[in-house]
C-alpha cells in the first residue's frame, strides 16, 4: 500500500472511542454505539458560545438545509446571497454546502458518472464533492443511476443571458411581479378585485404549465383559446338532464371552476404585463438589447442608455443596460465609462460610487484599458510574431483582466441565429426563441455543446475565451446502453443563480433531444436581482 492514504474511513471518531466497558450487572442498557458524529460542527459558533459563557446551556443541532424543491424539475438552495458573497466578496463558505447537496442527490439518484462543468466555483464544488464521494465510498455502487449527467456552471461564465430582458411568460412574470420561492403575489391590478392573491406557479397549475415556456406573444392567443374551450365545457350543461347535471356538478364543475380562476388570473397578469411592457418604451428597450447582443449601432445604444439614465427611468434598468453594454463590448471605452457613471451618480446619488466599484470588481461593468484595445494590440503583435505566440500573449492579457470576450464566443458558438425573414416564435427552431429569436443563451449553448460532444473536445477556443476552469469526467465515459441514453436525465447546476429564460431554453432543448433536465440552482435570479445584489444604497 502506498504511504499516502487514499481511501477514507467511515465518519469521524469512531475507531477510537473510549474503551467499551461492560455493565455490572447488565441491566438492559446497551454498550457503546458507533454513532457517526455530524459532519459539520459549528466550531466558530461554539467558540462564541464559549466566550459568552453559555456553551453548556445551549444545545446545538445542525439543520442541514440543502435543497428546496420548487417544482417537478427545479431545486433551489434559496441562497440569493451566494451570488454576492462568492463572486464579489470571494467568500467560499457555501462551497461545501453545495457540494454536500450534490452528494445528497448523488447518493439518492446517482452515481453521477458524467460530471462536466466550467467556472472556478464549479471546479471547487466539484472537487469538494469528489472528496465526499470518496469518503462515503461503498455506499451506493453498481446500480443504475437515475441521474447520470451533471453540468455545473458559474454564473460569471455567462452574465449576458442573465442581463437580458425576459420575454418568455414565466421569466416575464418574474421580471414584472418577482416570483418568490415558487409563488407570486398578484396585486389588485391583476386580480381585478381589491385583493391580492398569492399563486403557486408550478407544474401543478394546469394553465400555467402550458404557457410558462411560451414566448409572450403566443400567450394571449393561447389563453383566449383556452377561455373559449372552457366556455364550451360550461355550455354543455345546457340540455343536460338532471342525472347528467348531477354528474357534471359533482365531477367536473370544481375542476372547471379552478381552471376558470387560474385562467382569469393569468389573463389579468398578461394584461398587466402588456400595459407595462408593450409600450413603445419596451420595444425600444428590446431593440437596444438586440443591438448590443449583435454588436451593431453601439453609439446609438450608448446614447439610449444615457437618456435612460438622464430621465431616471429606473435605477436598476439603467445599470443593467450599462452592464450589458460592458459585457458584450469587453468593457466600455474610457470616455463612455466616465460619462455614464457621472450621469448615473447625478441621477441616483454618490453612494453608487461603491456600486460601480462592486460592478467593476465582479466584471459586470469595466473599462477597456486606455488606448488599447486588446484586439488592436493583438493584431499588431500577431503581425510580428507567430500565431502561437500571439495566443500566449492574449492569455497573458486575459489573466490581467477578466474579459468577457462575448463577441468572440458569440461568433464561435453562433449565438446570434441568422434568420431569413421572420423568426417563427410559435414553432421555435432553437433556444433563441426565449429571446425572440435574437440570441441563443450562452449558458444553455455551452451545455448543449458539451453534452453533444461528451466533453470539451473541439471547444478549446471557446474555453479559452471563457477563461478556462472547465472539467469533464476523468475516466473515459462508458459506452452507454442506448435505451438509457434515450431517457437521459441531466442535472444542470447553476452557481450564482439561473433565470427562468435559461430554464425554458433548456426545457426546450430537452424536448428536442429527448433529455430531461433537472435544475439545481443556488437561487432563481434575474437581471434585477443581479443588480440589486451589487447595489450599495443607503439603508
Amino acid at each position: 500500500m502506498s504511504g499516502k492514504a487514499q481511501r477514507r474511513g467511515p465518519p469521524r471518531g469512531t475507531a477510537m472511542e473510549p474503551l467499551v466497558t461492560p455493565h455490572w450487572p447488565r441491566c438492559g442498557s446497551c454498550l457503546g454505539t458507533n454513532q457517526p458524529l455530524p459532519l459539520l460542527q459549528f466550531y466558530s459558533c461554539e467558540l462564541v458560545l464559549e466566550e459568552e459563557g453559555i456553551y453548556g446551556d445551549v444545545t446545538c443541532d445542525e439543520w442541514a438545509f440543502y435543497l428546496l424543491p420548487l417544482d417537478d424539475d427545479l431545486l433551489s438552495m434559496e441562497l440569493p446571497e451566494f451570488f454576492r458573497d462568492y463572486f464579489l466578496e470571494g467568500d467560499q463558505r457555501w462551497i461545501s454546502t453545495i457540494a454536500r447537496a450534490l452528494q445528497l442527490l448523488n447518493s439518492l439518484f446517482g452515481p453521477f458518472t458524467n460530471t462536466y462543468g466550467i467556472g472556478r466555483c464549479a471546479k471547487m464544488v466539484y472537487e469538494v464533492w469528489r472528496e465526499l464521494v470518496e469518503e462515503s465510498e461503498g455506499d451506493s455502487q453498481a446500480r443504475r443511476p437515475e441521474i447520470s449527467h451533471v453540468f455545473l456552471m458559474d454564473r460569471d461564465v455567462d452574465y449576458v443571458t442573465a442581463l437580458c430582458s425576459q420575454v418568455v411568460y414565466e421569466g416575464l412574470v418574474d421580471d414584472t411581479f418577482r416570483i418568490k420561492c415558487g409563488s407570486v403575489d398578484f396585486g389588485p391590478d391583476v386580480t381585478t378585485s381589491d385583493r391580492s392573491f398569492k399563486v403557486l406557479l408550478n407544474a401543478q397549475d394546469k394553465v400555467f404549465s402550458e404557457i410558462r415556456n411560451e414566448h409572450f406573444s403566443n400567450v394571449f392567443g393561447f389563453l383566449s383559446q383556452k377561455a373559449r374551450n372552457l366556455q364550451t365545457q360550461y355550455d354543455r350543461r345546457r340540455g343536460m338532464d338532471i342525472k347528467q347535471m348531477k354528474n357534471f356538478v359533482s365531477q367536473e364543475l370544481k375542476g372547471l371552476k379552478q381552471e376558470h380562476r387560474l385562467l382569469s388570473l393569468h389573463i389579468g397578469a398578461c394584461e398587466s404585463i402588456m400595459k407595462k411592457k408593450t409600450k413603445q418604451d419596451f420595444q425600444e428597450l428590446l431593440k437596444t438589447e438586440h443591438s448590443l447582443l449583435e454588436g451593431f449601432d453601439i453609439r446609438e445604444s450608448t446614447s439610449y442608455i444615457e437618456e435612460h439614465i438622464d430621465r431616471q427611468v429606473s435605477p436598476s434598468e439603467s445599470l443593467r443596460l450599462m452592464c450589458l453594454l460592458s459585457v458584450t463590448e469587453n468593457g466600455l471605452i474610457p470616455k463612455d465609462y466616465r460619462s455614464l457613471k457621472t450621469q448615473y451618480l447625478q441621477s441616483y446619488g454618490p453612494e453608487h460610487l461603491l456600486t460601480f466599484h462592486n460592478l467593476k470588481r465582479i466584471g459586470l461593468l469595466t473599462e477597456q484599458a486606455p488606448g488599447e484595445t486588446l484586439t488592436a494590440v493583438e493584431s499588431k503583435v500577431s503581425k510580428l510574431v507567430t500565431d502561437r505566440a500571439a495566443g500566449k500573449l492574449t492569455d497573458a492579457f486575459n489573466s490581467l483582466a477578466r474579459k468577457s470576450n462575448f463577441r468572440g464566443i458569440s461568433k464561435k458558438l453562433g449565438l446570434i441565429p441568422r434568420v431569413d425573414g421572420e423568426y417563427n416564435l410559435k414553432v421555435p427552431r432553437d433556444m433563441a426563441y426565449v429571446f425572440s429569436g435574437a440570441y441563443i443563451p450562452l449558458s444553455c449553448k455551452i451545455i448543449e455543446q458539451v453534452l453533444e460532444r461528451k466533453g470539451w473536445l473541439g471547444l478549446e477556443e471557446v474555453v479559452r475565451l471563457l477563461n478556462g476552469n472547465e472539467f469533464a469526467p476523468t475516466e473515459p465515459v462508458m459506452e452507454e446502453n442506448p435505451a438509457w441514453e434515450a431517457q437521459r436525465v441531466i442535472l444542470a447546476v447553476f452557481l450564482g443563480g439561473c433565470t427562468f429564460s435559461e430554464i425554458s431554453a433548456l426545457r426546450f432543448l430537452g424536448k428536442e433531444k429527448g433529455y430531461k433536465f433537472i435544475f439545481l440552482t443556488t437561487a432563481i435570479t434575474s437581471s434585477a436581482r443581479l443588480m440589486d445584489a451589487m447595489l450599495e444604497a443607503k439603508v
Binding site: G9, P25, E307, Y348
Partner: protein
C-alpha cells in the same frame, strides 16, 4: 481434582457444583493473602495485592508494595506505594484499579500500575477518615461507598462523572455498624446496614428500619451480609450461626438454616443463586488462606497456590455427569461438553443449521486462547457472551496484547472497522508513548503498520502523541491524516496555528477556516495577524466578511495595512452616509475619501466625491434658506426639486456649477415644469434655445399630464421623422380615456381639443360618452 461442593441453595437443597482448577498460581507469594489488601476483578480479571499495608511502623524499607497479577498469577506490574494509608482496593468496570485512602482520596491506576488520576470523596470524608469502603458496579458505572469515622456514609455511583452523595444519618449510631452492603434497586443505590439485631436501609433522603420476612426471632445479631452478583439476592449471617437468605428487596424469604459455626465468615459470596461462605474455620474444603471472587455463573477461589472455579452444573448435564470426573483445568467444561454432545448429535440431524455450530466452535477456540496462563483471562462461555467480543478485544488491548487481539479479529472475521482498525489505533497510541524511539522512527512505524486501514484516525493518534509531550511526532503523524479538516483542531491545540490555517483552507471547510482565523487573531499581534492573512486570500476574504458585519474599524485597519487606498476611499464614502449623521462629519468623511482616492490614482472617484462635498454644502445652504429638506437628494433630484418650487435661478446655478449636461437639464426641467403644470414657463423654456432633446419629449410629457392642448403646440415643432410618433401620442390620450370609461378624463381631453383639427377625436369621445350613458 474435582470436588463436590457443600453449599446451600436458597431453598436449602443441596445442589451439584463442581470445582475446577484453573491455574496453579505462577506467583511466588511469600505473604499470606490475609495479610494483604486484595482485589480481584470479575470476568477473569486481574488481581491486585497491596503488601505490608497493615504494618503500623512505616520505615522507608518497608513501604507497602502494590502488585498486579493476571488471574494466573503472572506479574503484570508493581510499584512501591508512596502515597497515604490505603483502606480498600477495587477494580472498575474498565479494569482500572481504585486505591481508596484513609483521607478519602481515591487514586486510579491502570493495570500496569501507571497512575492515571485521582479524586477526593469530599471534605467530610477527609476530616473523619475512611473506616470502611466498598467498590460497586451498577448500570451507571463503577461506584465507591465510604463509611467514615463519624459513622456516616458517602457515596458516588459513577467515578467518571463524580457526584458525591452524603447519605442521611442513622439515628443513634454510635459505633461502626457490624456489617453493611450496597444494594441497587430500581436504579437507586441504597445502603443496607446492621447494628446488632437491627437492620437499616439508607436511601438518598431517609433511613428506615427493616426486618427480613420470616426470620426467626432468636436469630441474634447480624454479623455478615452478602449481596448476589446481580443484586437480586441477599444473605444475612447472625452471631447464632443462622443464615437467612432472601431477595434483596427484603420482600421474600427463600430459606433459612443454621450453621455449626458461630464466628462470622471472613468472606461470604453468592454463587449464582447459592451461597458460599469462607469462614475462618476449616468448615469447607477450601484452603484457609483463600479469596473468593463472585462471578456471573460461579465463584473463583484463589489462594497462594491455586486458582479454582466453582461452577454449578446445569440441570441438563447433571443427569449424565453426576459422578463423572473431568480432566483438570477444564474451564470450558460445560461448553465443551455441549460441543461434544452437539457434534455427536449433529450426525443424527440433517436439518441442523451449521452456522451456530461453527460460530460456537470459533468462540470456544478464542476462549481457549485467552485462557492460556500467559494471557490469564479465564472466561466461561456465559461470561464471554455477557462481556461481548468487543469488550474482550478492548481488554486484550488494555493488556497490550495487540497481536493476539488482531489474530482474534481475523479469526472471527470481524469487520476491519470494528476490529483490526480499533486495535491498530490503540497500538499506535501506545507506540507514540515509547520515548526511546525517535520521532521519525515512530511515525514511520505507525504508518507502515496502519497504512490506510479504514477507520484509522491519525489525528487521534497525533493527539495522544501531543499529550505525551511529543509535539514534533504529533505533527509527523498528522501528515498521514488524509482529511485535512481533522488535522486542524489538534494543530490549533499545539499552537501551530499557521499550519492549521493551511490545512483548514485545504479542507475547504470555511467554518474551520473561521475557527483558525479567530484563533490567530487572539494569538498573534495585529500586525503579524494581518500579514498572515495577506498570504491567504481565502482566509482574508472570510475575515473581511466577518469584519464587515462585526468590526468595521478592523476592516479599515486591514485596508490600511495593505495600503489599499481604493478600499479605504470606499470605506469613508460608506461611513459618510451610514454612520455619520452631521453634515460636518459627513463632509470630513468624504474629504478623507477624496484623499484616499487620489492616493489610489482614481481621479474619477476623487472628483465625484469632491462634487458630492460641494453638493452637500449647497444642499445644506438650500435647506437653511428655503426651509425644505434637500440634503441626501441626488443632484438630479435637487435640481428637480428646485424647479418644482419655482426656484429657477438656483436650478440654473446648480446646472452650471455641476456642469449638468444640457440633455439631462432639459429632460428634468420639462418634467418638473409639467408636474408643476407651469405650461407658460415650459413654453418660454422651449423657446429659450434649440432643444437638445428635440420636441417629442415635450409632447410626451404634456400627454402624460393629459394636456393635449399643450402637447399639440410642440407636436408642430417635432422633426418630420418623429412627427408620426407625436401624432400617435396625441391620439393615445383619447383612446386611454375611452378605455378607462372615465367621463372626467374624457371631458379633460375634450376640453383640450380644437374643433377644427381634432374633429375625429371629438367624435370618438362623444360616441364613447353616449355609450356610457346608455348603460
Amino acid at each position: 481434582g474435582i470436588t463436590g461442593g457443600c453449599h446451600r441453595s436458597p431453598k436449602g437443597e443441596a445442589a451439584f457444583s463442581q470445582k475446577f482448577e484453573l491455574y496453579s498460581m505462577a506467583w511466588n507469594l511469600k505473604e499470606d493473602l490475609r495479610d494483604c489488601l486484595v482485589a480481584a476483578a470479575p470476568y477473569g480479571g486481574p488481581i491486585a495485592l497491596l503488601k505490608n499495608n497493615f504494618r503500623k511502623e512505616k520505615s522507608p524499607g518497608s513501604r507497602p508494595l502494590l502488585e498486579i497479577y493476571s488471574a494466573s498469577g503472572v506479574p503484570l506490574a508493581s510499584v512501591l506505594w508512596k502515597s497515604g494509608q490505603v483502606v480498600q482496593l477495587g477494580w472498575t468496570a474498565s479494569e482500572d484499579l481504585l486505591c481508596i485512602q484513609e483521607d478519602g482520596t481515591v487514586l486510579i491506576y491502570n493495570l500496569f500500575c501507571e497512575f492515571k488520576r485521582h479524586f477526593s470523596m469530599g471534605n467530610e470524608v477527609l476530616q473523619n477518615h475512611v473506616r470502611e469502603a466498598k467498590v460497586f458496579h451498577t448500570e451507571y458505572g463503577t461506584g465507591v461507598a465510604i463509611l467514615t469515622g463519624a459513622h456516616r456514609f458517602s457515596l458516588t455511583t459513577n467515578i467518571d462523572d463524580l457526584k458525591l452523595r452524603r447519605m442521611p444519618e442513622v439515628p443513634g449510631l454510635q459505633k461502626l455498624p457490624s456489617c453493611w452492603a450496597v444494594l441497587s434497586q430500581d436504579r437507586v443505590t441504597i445502603i443496607l446496614l446492621a447494628i446488632g439485631q437491627d437492620l437499616y436501609l439508607l436511601d438518598n433522603t431517609s433511613c428506615s428500619v427493616v426486618t427480613p420476612p420470616g426470620i426467626s426471632p432468636h436469630a441474634g445479631a447480624y454479623v455478615q451480609m452478602a449481596v448476589s452478583f446481580n443484586y437480586c439476592y441477599l444473605a444475612l449471617f447472625t452471631d447464632t450461626g443462622s443464615i437467612w437468605m432472601g431477595t434483596s428487596s427484603l420482600k421474600e424469604k427463600l430459606g433459612e438454616f443454621s450453621c455449626d459455626f458461630r464466628t462470622p465468615p471472613r468472606q461470604m459470596v453468592w454463587h449464582v443463586a447459592e451461597l458460599w461462605t469462607l469462614s475462618g474455620e476449616r468448615r469447607f474444603i477450601l484452603d484457609e488462606d483463600s479469596y473468593l471472587v463472585p462471578e456471573l455463573d460461579g465463584v473463583r477461589i484463589f489462594s497462594r497456590t491455586t486458582h479454582e472455579f466453582l461452577h454449578e452444573i446445569p440441570e441438563a448435564s447433571e443427569e449424565i455427569f453426576k459422578i463423572a470426573s473431568m480432566a483438570p483445568g477444564a474451564l470450558l467444561l460445560e461448553a465443551q461438553r455441549e460441543y461434544e454432545a452437539a457434534s455427536f448429535g449433529k450426525c443424527f440431524l440433517d436439518k441442523f443449521p451449521p452456522e451456530s455450530f461453527v460460530r460456537t466452535c470459533r468462540d470456544l477456540r478464542v476462549l481457549n486462547a485467552i485462557w492460556d496462563y500467559q494471557i490469564g483471562i479465564p472466561l466461561t462461555f456465559a461470561q464471554y457472551k455477557q462481556l461481548t467480543i468487543e469488550v474482550l478485544l478492548d481488554r486484550l488491548v488494555l493488556r497490550r496484547l495487540y497481536p493476539l487481539a488482531i489474530k482474534i479479529c481475523e479469526y472471527l472475521r470481524l469487520s476491519e472497522f470494528q476490529g483490526v482498525s480499533r486495535i491498530l489505533a490503540h497500538w499506535a497510541c501506545y507506540k507514540v508513548q515509547q520515548k526511546d524511539k525517535s520521532d521519525e522512527e515512530v511515525a514511520h512505524a505507525i504508518n507502515q503498520k496502519l497504512g490506510d486501514t479504514p477507520g484509522i484516525s491519525y489525528s487521534e493518534i497525533a493527539a495522544r502523541a501531543y499529550d505525551c509531550g511529543r509535539t514534533e511526532l504529533a505533527i509527523k503523524v498528522l501528515e498521514y491524516e488524509p482529511r485535512s479538516g481533522e488535522q486542524v483542531p489538534l494543530l490549533l491545540k499545539m499552537k501551530k496555528s499557521q499550519l492549521a490555517l493551511n490545512k483548514a483552507i485545504e479542507s475547504g471547510d470555511t467554518d474551520l477556516v473561521y475557527t483558525v482565523v479567530l484563533h490567530l487573531k487572539n494569538e498573534l499581534n495585529r500586525g503579524t495577524f494581518f500579514m498572515t492573512l495577506q498570504k491567504q486570500p481565502v482566509a482574508l476574504s472570510l475575515y473581511r466578511q466577518f469584519c464587515k458585519h462585526q468590526e468595521l474599524e478592523t476592516l479599515k485597519d486591514l485596508y490600511n495595512q495593505d495600503d489599499d487606498h481604493q478600499e479605504l476611499g470606499n470605506f469613508h464614502v460608506h461611513s459618510s452616509y451610514s454612520s455619520e449623521k452631521r453634515i460636518e462629519g459627513r463632509v470630513a468623511a468624504l474629504q478623507n475619501a477624496v484623499d484616499e482616492y487620489y492616493k489610489a490614482k482614481n481621479e474619477f472617484a476623487a472628483k465625484a466625491t469632491e462634487d458630492q462635498i460641494k453638493l452637500l454644502r449647497m444642499q445644506r445652504r438650500l435647506q437653511d434658506e428655503l426651509d425644505k429638506p434637500y440634503v441626501d437628494y441626488s443632484l438630479h433630484d435637487t435640481v428637480y426639486g428646485l424647479i418644482l418650487d419655482g426656484n429657477h435661478k438656483r436650478a440654473e446655478q446648480l446646472y452650471r456649477d455641476f456642469r449638468i449636461p444640457d440633455k439631462r437639464f432639459w429632460w428634468l426641467k420639462i418634467g418638473a415644469l409639467a408636474e408643476r403644470e407651469d405650461w407658460e414657463e415650459m413654453e418660454k423654456f422651449s423657446k429659450s434655445k434649440k432643444s437638445p432633446i428635440g420636441y417629442l419629449p415635450f409632447v410626451e410629457i404634456c400627454m402624460k399630464h393629459h394636456n393635449r392642448h399643450e402637447a399639440k403646440k410642440y407636436a408642430a415643432r417635432v422633426t418630420p421623422e418623429q412627427r408620426v410618433k407625436a401624432h400617435i401620442l396625441l391620439d393615445q390620450a383619447a383612446d386611454a380615456a375611452i378605455e378607462h370609461k372615465n367621463e372626467n378624463e374624457m371631458n379633460l381631453v375634450l376640453s383640450k381639443c380644437t374643433a377644427a383639427t381634432d374633429s375625429s377625436v371629438v367624435e370618438k369621445i362623444n360616441r364613447a360618452k353616449a355609450q356610457i350613458l346608455k348603460k
